[in-house]
């Protein structure tokens, strides 16, 4: 009983802490901040400066060097940015953007519709478009109407949120710099690259001709690479850096208790127990459905992610329009329900244990949560081994489907729901794990319905509800919890945090409290 109370107390503490986390940001805006040199610790060096290389290691620089066409508020509402307005055609087949007139690139070149067109050309190139390329699949063509107007036409009528996702994804690059953007970034962002020492630091200086009034607040941002989380947080505690970007949940919780600020963005990842439904006992749908109840989501969140995030039975963040927290209650951890479904599956005892759980041995959280699942399954008679692989061997197994089951996080869960299909197990076509044709036609149809339901609102909601129902019924992916990426732990002296929908580092409003 006391343990339950401790758990509840812990949960309550987490909620209070979450409220504190949110209030940190709100409070910071209300204060007068003074400019200064912002020293940031990061846990890995950036790969390159290409804003279309949407890798988490590049997250500390993208929003500081570039601006996107539009932005989202932390709640997911689209707001103007480089595009001061946009109009979606009544048939949802095109969008017309009106661009800001007062923007210049770091090079001094003017920002205009031709520059947007050049960036779209890069995005539409399978090689150069990198992570943006799949999102461009909805685009048929685009046309420059005049220097401040560009129109993008879609292959089929596209839902509004899908259109705004695309616009938010496009960070505009100076056309003259596109060729060498990986090493020489030229955007319109609040900072310009001053220095890069590979493996050591990136130094950014304020863009004096930036279009946002009074921004950036601080004249310089120095991003220092640290070997690991312990070294970075020790630097924070010693005052060598003002904040650490991308720290672990456990360090964040420890430092929060010591008076540091923890800033959690609205774009988490969702951990998913991925099931290869083409192998062994997992071909049986009822057996797969049992896993909706056999995984201790709260335990995983607590042990694997220090309680930061929330349990979820669906692959959505709270900012997603398809988010439905009721599923977490309906598909809660319940061994009796799981046992009943295993019995209903009709599989013999020997077969239900005839598989292995692939584990990313290089990631401590994965090792921990896999052991939690292993222990839970043992309680219902499923005795499995963990198959630990590391590095390239693990990635190869994960992306080519050489596994029975594995934990793997999915991103883009705060955007339009069908962005989920950019994650390998959720692909509707050319699925590298489940093969071709997709063995779950009802899932493919549910995705198609979401993609093609433009309105009215209740019809859109019904499409989302249908997708959610199909996801738990097909059960080839069992979401367990969301958890933050790009977690920021900052000195109490720092204020002015701007939350980015993708949890990228936004430094332009950062300053020091008086």
């Amino acid at each position: 009983m006391s343990r339950r109370m401790t758990f509840r107390t812990g949960l309550a503490t987490s909620l209070v802490a979450a409220a504190f986390t949110v209030s940190v940001a709100a409070e910071a805006f209300a204060q007068d901040l003074r400019p200064g040199r912002i020293r940031v610790g990061m846990l890995a060096d950036i790969n390159d400066f290409d804003p279309m290389a949407f890798s988490t290691v590049n997250f500390p620089t993208i929003k500081n060097l570039y601006d996107s066409l539009i932005e989202y508020t932390p709640e997911g509402r689209a707001i103007p940015n480089l595009a001061e307005s946009w109009t979606i055609a009544p048939d949802n087949r095109s969008v017309t953007l009106t661009l800001r007139a007062d923007v210049k690139f770091h090079s001094g070149a003017p920002f205009d519709a031709e520059a947007v067109s050049a960036t779209l050309r890069k995005a539409n190139d399978p090689r150069a478009g990198k992570n943006v390329y799949p999102t461009m699949s909805i685009v048929q063509e685009w046309a420059v109407v005049d220097p401040r107007t560009i129109r993008i036409t879609f292959r089929n009528p596209a839902p509004t949120r899908q259109i705004t996702d695309l616009l938010q994804f496009i960070s505009v690059i100076d056309p003259a710099a596109i060729e060498n953007v990986s090493t020489r970034p030229v955007g319109t962002g609040p900072y310009v690259l001053a220095e890069r020492a590979v493996g050591q630091r990136v130094r950014l200086e304020a863009n004096r001709s930036h279009w946002r009034a009074s921004q950036p607040l601080s004249p310089e941002v120095v991003l220092t690479v640290f070997e690991n989380d312990a070294a970075a947080t020790a630097a924070l505690e010693s005052g060598a850096v003002d904040l650490v970007y991308g720290t672990t949940g456990r360090s964040a919780v420890r430092l929060r208790a010591a008076g540091y600020q923890v800033v959690e963005g609205p774009g988490p990842l969702v951990q998913v127990f991925r099931i290869n439904s083409t192998r062994g006992p997992f071909r049986n749908q009822t057996f797969r459905q049992a896993f909706n109840h056999l995984i201790d989501r709260a335990g995983i969140l607590r042990v694997g992610y220090a309680g930061l995030g929330e349990v979820t039975a669906l692959p959505w963040a709270p900012a997603s329009p398809a988010h439905d927290p009721s599923y977490a209650q309906r598909y809660a951890y319940d061994l009796d329900k799981g046992r009943a479904l295993i019995q209903r599956s009709g599989l013999p005892q020997a077969e239900i244990s005839n598989w292995k759980l692939l584990v990313n041995g290089g990631e401590e959280a994965s090792v921990r949560i896999s052991q939690i699942v292993q222990a839970s399954l043992a309680r219902v008679g499923i005795n499995i081994e963990l198959d630990l692989k590391q590095g390239a061997e693990f990635i190869d197994a994960l992306l080519t489907g050489k596994f029975d089951a594995v934990f793997g996080a999915v991103g883009n869960v705060q955007k339009f729901p069908t962005r989920l299909t950019t994650n390998s197990i959720y692909r509707t076509v050319n699925n590298p794990i489940l093969g071709e044709p997709n063995p779950h036609p009802e899932y493919v149809e549910a995705i198609r319905r979401v993609d093609t339901t433009l309105g009215p609102e209740d019809a859109v909601k019904a499409a989302y509800d249908n997708l959610n129902r199909v996801l738990v019924e097909t059960a080839f992916g069992i979401p367990t919890n969301s958890y933050p990426i790009g977690l920021i732990v900052a000195s109490p002296r720092v204020g002015g945090f701007t939350l980015d929908i993708d949890n990228m580092l936004v430094a332009r409003t950062l300053g020091f409290k008086p």
Partner: protein, 289 residues
């Protein structure tokens, strides 16, 4: 047999050996009796994670709420089994190689020793990592990897001992009386070579335990949830702030075990040296060593 008993008596007479043997005996007894003790190294209690030492959990609990003492005791089984298996593999392969190389000499010695040199040139941990990369992570793989890295030391020590005995009168006498090469090697030379090999058994046990722990610390040892001291050290370092005893106590047990084995090995070597000093004149006079 009489000489082995005498060697054992002299070793046990040393204080350092007594302390080492007491620790090792305790460890062996706990490891052997672990399945009948009221402990479960796999039982999780997620609401009792990272608790400090208490009456219920003498060493505290780990990140999954498992009893650290139970895992240390079961970890001893892992370490001792790895050490025993590795020593068996290394001895079974290394001793015959050293015996043949030393006994026959010539090109056979050159070929066998160059092979051993190749093995010796590779750092043990690197060789073990390569073996595990090929055969995958498992207790058998760890045991095999550690065993293979121990082959050169057995081969070289055996060869050195055989070379020192090869031309001794009692060996020459057996050959003169028509003893075959196999008979002379296995029935005459080998029985007189056991002492330094026994010392090497103790030394390699310590190396094997340390190497297994190092592999686990690097994340390529025996896969979880099987308890392993190295794995506990690896995971425990993540929680040094929250639960310092998590890493410290398994580390202490590992250190004491390695120290005990090293101490025992040193005492055995020292006793053997004393014996040689006493027996050398007799050998020079042509008596049995």
């Amino acid at each position: 047999m009489r000489r082995s008993r005498e060697l054992a008596r002299r070793v046990v007479a040393r204080g350092a050996a007594q302390v080492s043997l007491a620790w090792l005996a305790t460890l062996v007894v706990l490891a052997v009796l672990a399945p009948v003790l009221p402990i479960d190294p796999l039982a999780q209690d997620l609401l009792a994670e990272l608790e400090g030492p208490s009456a219920a959990h003498w060493f505290g609990t780990d990140e999954l709420g498992r009893d650290i003492m139970a895992r240390v005791i079961y970890g001893a089984r892992t370490s001792l089994m790895t050490a025993a298996g590795a020593v068996a593999i290394a001895g079974a392969v290394g001793v015959p190689i050293g015996l043949m190389a030393g006994f026959f000499g010539g090109w056979r010695d050159a070929v066998l020793m160059r092979l051993i040199d190749v093995l010796l040139a590779l750092p043990g941990i690197l060789l073990a990592m390569a073996i595990i990369a090929v055969v995958g992570r498992s207790q058998a793989a760890a045991l095999l990897a550690v065993g293979i890295t121990g082959i050169p030391s057995f081969a070289r020590i055996t060869r050195a001992q055989v070379l020192s005995l090869r031309k001794r009168d009692f060996v020459v006498a057996v050959e003169a009386l028509g003893g075959s090469a196999a008979y002379t090697m296995f029935r005459t030379v080998l029985p007189n070579s056991w002492s330094p090999i026994l010392v090497q058994v103790v030394v390699l046990s310590s190396v094997a335990i340390l190497l297994e722990a190092a592999l686990a610390f690097l994340g390529i040892g025996i896969p979880p949830p099987t308890p392993s001291w190295g794995e506990m050290l690896r995971t425990g370092k993540t929680y040094l702030y929250e639960a310092p005893t998590y890493a410290v106590l398994p580390g202490l047990v590992l250190t004491l075990t390695i120290l005990s084995l090293d101490m025992l090995g040193r005492v055995m070597a020292s006793v053997l040296e004393d014996r040689h000093e006493i027996e050398e004149p007799a050998a020079l006079q042509g008596g049995r060593p």
